[in-house]
């Protein structure tokens, strides 16, 4: 919770009246549960190419949704007309949809209980809302980045972008919970492109998206990104990459920087420990999980140095919020402890299905606060908490980890990613791969992808770095569900050492 206040222009909207009206109508019609969400989400995207502002666009989603349990089945409806009549109509539609759904819902839906949060307000931690900064000022920063990148001899073209979101939500339900919240997040970035004698390539910023304000770009926060330093070094890094030798495929030890490892965590742990996937509720779209519920407490996910937490309270995390979209106060918990699967991410329906996850003191279960909808037109689904790999309290530095490797690669920055629908087999590339020989970096290599199976990969984790190597990375637009929804999520991790990982040469893979 920051010292910032909820945007007065949101507070002036008639959400309380519409919510009370909709909930009262749903109750009249016999809903056993009803919740009301009113949302305004403001987006602004800027794009610059070769020092020219290509686009600056603003978008705002505004509307409300009513979700009911009626006859043991879900019903959902959403609308955009902000009148009492429309609130009543949407509530009635939600109940009507539930009546249709009841015929195809043989097992009644139940929800884990949650304490009533009578009228609470929560605002994320930031200093300066980027949407309050003039577009010209932000565009000038991006133009400056591309100008400076193009000074490099190897850089033919440069692009830069800035995505910003301000998310306001009001939630109310029949138990009396009322939450009003505001979150701000942003993703700045840039890319330099160049061509060598017989190749072309790019080098991107490795800066993560953050739950911070404009201070992340212009400095002032304790861990603001050093954009000037990165802009200065990327042209040379690209020049080296364009001249780098092609990798020899085979088995290598990998020292992976957090700017790359966050994405491997996201795909192979974050999604794999979503309980809806483990129970089959994403089978037709995003897929299920190898980490099925019967393996809780016994699955050897990785080596003994692997400890992973789920956390929706982490300061500046992209999935951080005070209360989720089912009115549940957010929490943090263990997912993998000493290499063993011990927890999942869940919502209220799943919390009720698996009450043992909440422990003996809560016999009816409890959600750990992972329900989220990306717009007023979408149904809340189970979405990812900030899922992070913990550092070793007295762990080694990145240099010490590299020093332990005789023949290997140091992996920095994310690029392409892909994993199968049960989260076993994955393949990732990076912004840059440095060859390690006898504990020393000896320059970049090209055409590299690492491919592994989740439990083998995490089983090969020999060491995690110390707290000083830990960085909070993340994804701005993670997709899931039908209809499709996007969510932002952060993943912290230390630099880590993996032994014997399979490396592909992507040119060979292409048959060229």
């Amino acid at each position: 919770m920051s010292g910032q206040q909820v945007d007065p222009s949101f507070l002036s909207l008639p959400y309380r009246r519409l919510g009370d009206t909709a909930l009262a109508r749903a109750q009249e019609l016999g809903a056993s549960h009803a919740d009301f969400r009113f949302e305004r989400v403001r987006y602004q995207d800027l794009a610059v190419r070769d020092a020219v502002l290509q686009s600056a666009s603003d978008r705002e989603d505004l509307g409300f949704a009513v979700r009911v349990l009626h006859g043991g089945a879900w019903g959902f409806a959403a609308g955009v007309v902000l009148t009492d009549e429309e609130a009543v109509r949407v509530a009635e539609t939600a109940v009507a949809v539930a009546r249709v759904a009841a015929k195809m819902t043989p097992v009644p839906v139940e929800l884990a209980p949650e304490p009533v949060h009578a009228d609470v307000t929560w605002v994320s931690a930031y200093d300066l809302n980027p949407l309050d900064v003039p577009v010209a000022e932000k565009a000038a920063v991006l133009v400056g980045w591309t100008d400076r990148l193009r000074v490099g001899a190897a850089v033919d073209h440069a692009s830069a972008y800035l995505m910003q979101v301000q998310e306001n939500k009001y939630y109310a339900d029949l138990t009396g919970t009322r939450t009003t919240q505001q979150r701000v997040r942003m993703q700045p970035g840039f890319e330099a492109m160049g061509a060598g004698a017989d190749t072309f390539d790019s080098m991107s910023s490795i800066a993560p998206p953050v739950g911070r304000g404009w201070e992340y770009v212009v400095g002032g926060a304790p861990d603001s990104w050093d954009w000037d330093a990165e802009v200065a070094e990327v042209p040379e890094l690209l020049a080296e990459k364009l001249k780098a030798p092609s990798v020899e495929a085979g088995s290598y030890d990998l020292v992976i920087h957090p700017s790359n490892l966050w994405l491997t965590i996201h795909e192979s742990i974050g999604h794999a420990t979503e309980l809806d996937r483990a129970l089959g509720y994403e089978a037709n779209y995003a897929g299920t999980s190898f980490a099925t519920y019967d393996k809780l407490g016994s699955l050897r996910y990785g080596s003994g140095v692997m400890n992973v937490t789920g956390d929706r309270t982490l300061p500046h995390g992209l999935a951080t919020v005070g209360y989720d979209d089912e009115g549940v106060e957010t929490q943090s918990w263990d997912i993998v402890r000493d290499g063993v699967l011990v927890g999942y991410q869940l919502d209220r329906a799943m919390g009720r299905m698996k009450p043992e996850l909440a422990g003996p003191d809560l016999p009816d279960g409890r959600s750990n606060g992972c329900a989220y909808a990306d717009s007023p037109g979408h149904i809340p689904i189970q979405r990812m908490a900030n899922v992070s790999l913990q550092p070793a309290p007295d762990g080694p530095s990145t240099e010490e980890l590299i020093g332990r490797v005789e023949r290997g690669l140091y992996v920095v920055g994310d690029k392409s990613w892909s994993i199968d629908m049960q989260r076993f087999n994955f393949q990732f590339t990076a912004q840059r791969f440095y060859q390690i020989q006898d504990g020393e970096l000896v320059g970049q290599v090209r055409d590299v992808a690492y491919q592994a199976t989740t439990t083998e990969f995490w089983g090969s984790l020999e060491a995690v770095g110390g707290p000083e190597t830990w960085v909070l990375g993340g994804a701005f637009n993670c997709g899931k569900a039908q209809p499709g929804q996007v969510a932002s999520v952060s993943h912290g991790c230390p630099t880590s050492l993996f032994r014997g990982v399979n490396i592909l040469n992507t040119t060979d893979e292409a048959g060229h």
């Binding site: 794009a47 020219v52 502002l53 290509q54 686009s55 600056a56 603003d58 989603d61 505004l62 509307g63 019903g75 959902f76 409806a77 959403a78 609308g79 955009v80 007309v81 949809v97 249709v100 759904a101 015929k103 195809m104 819902t105 003039p134 577009v135 010209a136 033919d156 492109m193 190749t199 072309f200 790019s202 089959g280 509720y281 089978a283 897929g287 190898f290 689904i381 392409s416 892909s418 199968d420 629908m421 049960q422 076993f424 087999n425 393949q427 590339t429 992808a449 491919q451 199976t453 997709g479 039908q482 209809p483 499709g484 399979n502 592909l504 992507t506 040119t507 893979e509 292409a510 060229h512």
Partner: protein, 463 residues
Amino acid sequence: MSTLSPQSFVEHAVATSIADDCVVLVHDKTGANLRWANNTLTTNGVMHGVTVTVISFVRTSAGVSTGSVSGSATTQAQVTALVEAADAAARAGTPAEDAADLPRDRVSPTWAEESVPTDVHVYDAFAPALGEAFGRATAADRVLYGFVNHEVTTMYLGSTTGLRLRHVQPTGHYGCTGKTADLTQSAWVGGATRDFTDVDALTMDAALEQRLGWGARQVALPAGRYDTILPPTAVADLMIDAYWYAGARVAWEGQSVYSRRGGGTRIGERIARPGVDLFSDPAYPGLECAPFVVASRSGNESSVFDNGLPLERTDWIRDGELTSLLQTRHSAAMTSQPVTPAVDNLVLSVDGAGGSVEDLVAGTERGLLLTCLWYIREVDPQTLLLTGLTRDGVYLVENGEITGSVNNFRFNESPVDLLNRFTHASATVPSFSREWGDDYFSRTATPALRVPDFNMSSVSQAQ
């Protein structure tokens, strides 16, 4: 429904803007969906939204600057606020590099007509059959997971230069995954539809039953290059990537598989087998889409100045030769090529090809038949190397018959290479990309292709 008409929003915005020019886009969208898993309905919903986008254009001595602002709007006051914000953004902006004269003076004959909605009644026939399919699957130890979605968007485009264009776009699709009760076998069927009159839940379940039956014999195969039949849905997955990465500007600047080494694009080069055509056509039967450009922002493959430009059939590859790339007027001038903007459908056809997937199977001595592909991402833009996985059914073909199911694989392949290497093709039929069809690009027609050496890079244990 909105309390005011979309046309009145357009007229109000055009009249209110104090910029030099203004383009207004109104998307009036309704949707209804059903989702199920474990033989029970899980979520469902109906939605309605009206989004208004105002793009303002302000001329100065340095050029034309633009501002684009979108928002939910149901009142005139909300539209006014969007106009004021767009005008202010344009005044504060910098000159646009893609500046061009706005298209002028075209009116759709249907301009005055109301928005066309959909609602949950689109499933009046489908929903009871789905309930019956749940019962049938449960009795036969099958588990069904799936989703149906139907949306209708009525789009209105108006401008200060006299454009008044309207297009109604129905978009629907269905997909159902079936698993055996022990969850060791998986199958999928899916497709696109405009109105759900051609979708039957019991037929869907019967197809899954047949496919799961093919899994009675399970065969483990290692990674390697296999004679592989890609059904139309898998070909759609790959061709969409070939299309999306076909931006003219990026190619011209030397950053894609369509770039000529040393400078320029590969337009005019043979990049596929003779007889291969890849094209888009807003009037293609069953895949009809907007016949004019709609762009809420400018980028490498879109320009707000092109809003309202007419679209027509565009050949991207004709008889194996790269003929066009995705062009705005700006990039067309840059590359000295005709203006060929993106169109919201895609068709692949092969001269002389006929028959079905089953015919390709019948002609295969030993190979693999895929169901669909998943989690496809670009690995290397120089070759358009893609990686991804097979999903929900890989079948062994022996002596022209399906004889069992095989484990899943990760592949590494380039769709451009595949268009040179395939040996057999079926007739082009409506298809549906498993990966991109749901949310982004559902209007495709493609053949099945048989590729003699498809690169299965490693085995996936996913079931």
